[in-house]
Amino acid sequence: MTQRSGAARPPGEPRRVAYLYLLPAFLVYAAFLLYPIGRAVHLSFFDWDGLSLGRWAGLDNYVAIVTDEGLRAAFGHALVLIVFYAVVPLAVGLALAAILHHAKVRGLGFFRTVVFLPQVIAMVVVAVAWRRIYAPDGTLNALLGALGLDSLTRGWLGDHTFALPSVGVVGTWFETGLVTVLLLAGMSRIPGELYEAARLDGAGAVKEFFAVTLPSVRGEIAVALTLTVIAALRTFDLVYVTTRGGPGDSTSVPSYEVYHRAFGLSQVGSAAAIGVTLTIVIFAISFGINRFADRSTT
């Protein structure tokens, strides 16, 4: 930011022409993103079924997010998913990246290719694969049976207690690789002298990790948390294909509620209010995480 404003503008540099270069992108952006989000805010103050005339509802749709049990549950489920999508991958990713960074193992390139692969596969495909694994006659139960743990087998996605954690584990599966690769890139930029200094002070591997490695990758941790928390809050495809919010509403999440209320229950105003709330929460979280990272690095 500060770098460029210092550079003097060369004489004769075109000024107005900048708007022409911006115009095409801005038109599409304004028509298909800015205007709709404005409309979402507008719709969220109405009680509307999508067909007949809407009725002014004031803040009712927002109040319902706090008071309506189903909606509260949906946001609660999102919090649970954050543990599976962000907290667990961060813990596992830190451990894996530290091992890889420390041990200089062979086959690092292959490992990185494999663990990052889930990121590029369409979520619908991921969901189909995991539905198969979790099915009553699926791979997980077969595995448990082979280990003599038949008592643990169940239809994982149809179980009131286990459906949400089962969806969460899928999140852990595809986010851990991203976090690991991100942290690994950060660790490779740590100057070797820092480690030598720590070793001269007699630090062991664990102390070295907490004194040198962890503080050096603060920025990467912030990025990893931002990406994974937002992914958790935006879980839609996975729930749509695996459980449709069920059984009961045990896996309902805000994104799915937006879709379900708008097109299943004809409560468009409520759907818009959830969408707007979700947007605000996402902005607040990414802003908060980045502020926190900025403060702690300086």
Binding site: R9, P10, E13, P14, R15, V17, A18, Y19, Y21, P24, A25, V28, Y29, A31, F32, L33, L34, P36, I37, R39, A40, L43, G50, V92, L96, I99, H102, A103, V105, F110, F111, V114, V115, L117, Q119, V120, I121, A122, M123, V124, V125, V126, V128, A129, W130, R132, W173, V181, V223, L227, R234, D237, V241, Y259, V268, A271, G275, L278, T279, F283
Partner: protein, 266 residues
């Protein structure tokens, strides 16, 4: 130095994790390539059957058209807007840029609902435009951010020299700045391609006719309707995932760099 035991332990941990990452993928692949659970076909016969019964040929065609349009339009518009933000100074510059930044984090579910009802009023629902233009808007937000970062870091001296030679801003962009920008443009192209190809919510809401169904949407419908066995579903999944995976395997650096750096704010 690392002891032998520690080294072995490290390899065990890493192999276990790699196996965990590959497990669902192997599940799908082995089901798709194995003998069909309904009998009859096996191996490549499964793909042919899925292609026929699951209509994946049609879905791939619309995915290709949708992705092609979104990628080309988004990349060209992003290059132009990124050029303006990255190399020129104008009134309202930072306010406009922050407006674009909003779109990077904007969840598509928040805009898709009002868009559906407005496009329905205009009679544009279930058209090519209703699927592509919202995705162009989302992609342009990231693309502007991405290309601006590139152009800001590019060599100013060459631009000044070209300007003194009397080159127009249009010529400077396409003839001077863009050729060395190829890696940045390739990364952007691949990311937008991946996001568009894998997008599910927008086609789900905007499309009702089968001829416009994209590949992930087709797979989700196929899963709902086709319940006799898993083989064809697995084959369909492989068909849907393969294009992006192939690009990933050959151009991995771009994907990793883009997905990691794209998130890093300055």
């Amino acid at each position: 130095m690392i002891s032998r035991g520690e080294r072995v332990a490290n390899y065990v941990i890493l192999s276990a994790f790699a196996a965990f990452a590959l497990f669902p993928i192997v599940t799908i692949l082995s089901a798709a390539l194995g003998p069909a659970d309904t009998g009859g076909t096996s191996g490549f016969g499964n793909f042919a059957a899925a292609w026929e019964i699951g209509h994946f040929g049609t879905y791939l065609r619309s995915s290709l058209l949708v992705s092609g349009f979104v990628v080309i339009v988004s990349v060209v518009l992003s290059i132009m807007s990124g050029y303006a933000f990255g190399t020129m100074r104008f009134r309202g510059q930072s306010a406009l840029f922050y407006l674009f930044l909003l779109g990077i984090m904007m969840p598509s579910e928040a805009i898709a609902v009002p868009l559906y009802f407005d496009l329905r009023t205009l009679g544009l629902i279930d058209t090519f435009w209703s699927v592509t233009l919202p995705q162009v808007a989302l992609s342009v937000a990231f693309g502007t951010f991405w290309m601006r970062a590139y152009f800001r870091a590019s060599n100013r001296a060459i631009v000044e020299a070209a300007r003194i030679d009397g080159a127009s801003s249009w010529r400077i962009l396409w003839r001077v700045l863009l050729p060395p920008a190829r890696p940045a443009v390739v990364t952007l192209t691949l990311l937008i391609f991946m996001w568009t190809w894998n997008e599910f919510l927008i086609p789900l809401i905007m499309v009702t006719s089968e001829s416009l169904r994209t590949a992930p949407l087709g797979l989700a419908f196929f899963q709902g309707q086709y319940t006799s066995g898993f083989t064809l579903l697995a084959a369909g999944s492989v068909i849907v995932a393969t294009p992006v995976v192939i690009f990933y395997l050959f151009l991995q650096r771009h994907f990793v760099r883009g997905l990691l750096q794209g998130a890093v704010r300055e």
